[in-house]
Symmetry: C2
Subunit: 345 residues, 2 copies
């Protein structure tokens, strides 16, 4: 692959190259890339959803083991996940990039290929952005716009006592994938012929490098006629997110340790690394699964949905938020030990 210096194209040349051939597909996109602003035409009675995420090199990602195409894919998908977490559908994104001199045009094309692939799979239009020079590394800022029927957006604040707490998929895998990638990075340091061994660990690596947003779950809920009372996606760990829902809803909760869904590979990896499995599942982060609450009356319906697990229930606020141990008796207060780069740093 040739390597073209970005300076040889300049800002507008690079933007043309990256966004060339982009044709807006969704009918709500009236004007895409190329003007002062994009123009969207949403039908009446639509709730418009807006979310944004910033990713910084060596804070959120390490290009030693994250391929640029995967990074682009993930950067888009984590935004889609926020829109699904509102019970909506993502429709458009803007993409702003800060790029240092060590990146070539081909690098940016790889990154963009991942973003474009994610957009194609999820039916989202790229409608604009900004591309500028950075003195240090790669900066990615994506804003996603989506829609829900008027009044159908699900907030964090609607959970009620006796509601059932549900999660999709399984937890902790992305975090264990990150631990594995970090281990292999250290093992490979200074060794040119090093081949990381991911055999039998493909799932956790993929969960870290190429997460998906749970469109399927949002669609299945709609089909089953279930509107969650509250919902969010799990990006900072189950504990942290549950505490957000409880705080914003003014309620407490009980979660059963034995009900927390964990994949076999996640468990194996935790054992291999001598890490506490439940801690990883509760606080690991980057799962991008959906955490939501439903009325008790929806119990029968939800139990038929594949890939959704009931893990506990909502209580009065005074009961606090706790994890119920495997003995069914002991209770440990939930704490937000989620990934907090601002505190860590």
């Amino acid at each position: 692959m040739g390597q073209t210096e970005i300076s040889s194209l300049g800002e507008f040349g690079l933007i043309d190259r990256l966004t060339g051939g982009l044709v807006p597909k969704h009918h709500s996109t009236s004007l895409g890339v190329g003007d002062d602003a994009a123009v969207l035409e949403y039908p009446a009675e639509t709730d418009i959803l807006v979310t944004t995420d910033m990713l910084l090199e060596n804070v959120h990602f390490d290009l030693t083991y994250v391929p640029l195409k995967h990074l682009g894919y993930k950067a888009a998908v984590v935004n889609f996940s926020d829109i699904y977490a509102m019970n909506g559908v993502p429709r458009q994104i803007t993409v702003s990039l800060g790029v240092s001199k060590r990146f070539t045009v081909e690098h940016m094309e790889e990154l963009y290929a991942g973003i474009r692939l994610a957009c194609e799979i999820y039916g989202v239009d790229i409608i604009g952005g900004d591309t500028c020079a950075s003195h240090q590394g790669l900066v990615i800022s994506i804003t996603c716009i989506g829609e829900a029927g008027r009044g159908n957006a699900v907030r964090r604040s609607g959970a009620k006592p006796t509601d059932i707490i549900c999660v999709s998929g399984d937890l902790g895998a992305a975090y264990m994938g990150l631990q594995l990638l970090e281990r292999e990075k250290i093992a490979s340091a200074g060794r040119k012929d090093f081949e990381p061994d991911f055999a039998g660990k493909e799932y956790i690596v993929e969960r870290q490098l190429k997460p998906e947003a749970r469109r399927d779950v949002v669609e299945a809920l709609a089909k089953a006629g279930i509107k969650p009372t509250s919902m969010m996606d799990i990006s900072d760990g189950l504990s942290s997110e549950l505490l957000h829902i409880c705080k914003q809803s003014g309620v407490g909760c009980r979660v059963y340790e034995e009900r927390i869904p964990i994949d076999y590979q996640t468990a194996l990896m935790a054992e291999e690394l001598n890490m506490n499995l439940v801690t990883a599942a509760l606080n690991g982060g980057e799962d991008y699964e959906l955490l939501f609450t439903i009325p008790l009356s929806a119990h029968d319906k939800i139990s038929e949905l594949p890939g959704v697990r009931e893990i506990g229930y909502i209580t009065e606020e005074s009961k606090g938020c706790a994890l119920v141990g495997r003995d069914g008796q002991s209770e440990i207060p939930l704490r937000a030990q989620g990934w907090n780069p601002l505190a860590e740093n």
Copy 2:
């Protein structure tokens, strides 16, 4: 002023502190900060406008002479300017910040105070964002959402031969302000008691540090019943922007050198620094004035609008794009020598 380390608050604590007391004011903001996504309810028959801008420390701003509050103000206003340039009205912004350890909570409050002030003045709601650790300086990414009546958004692509080319305000001042600030920065290096002398140069400094978006011009055009055939804001210099309009409209243009509006302070500073004044006005950038075209038939109406100058006219594409010299005869092809950090870097 006390200095509180950001790590003592963590991400959510910092966000609470910065966005505390924010009450969405515009009726289209149904849910602001604090959930996976904001929720907007726009009336039917609205064109929704979306624009985004990323600002990186030491690429777009130099904190040696840019006060954080001004920076916040400017970062918001340049986005509003893009919405006005579509003939729209800005309504909401999301604010993403990457913050390195050398910044304190109080620094971020200053930055946010500027953003909040701009939002107050322009009637815009802060509806969300992202705040994360950065290893390298300050990163600001703002996305702005606005509205125009259905079909009222003005694009770059509608200019027609015989249309009159207009600009608001005056050009080159922000660029000369930047030159002055850079000169004073060098003069002050290593001198603790240095006091920069901006006497008689307040206007160009303010144009650089605290630009305004031309809401007044958009409102005056609407009041006068003039809908521009094309419009954009001048962020990269008049030449560069005019070439965008001509390319996207498939037309050429003639601009009269003697018609380009230049402030007295801009001219004085150019002389003092021995710089070419017309070059500064054509290519300086960061003016955030509006460049637009109107049908010939609107000539009488436009000549009554204060602060708007007719500078030339649109031609057939085959005539190319040129600047007509003060002799009224000589022509120099327009070139995009605008600010291009990706090429410079």
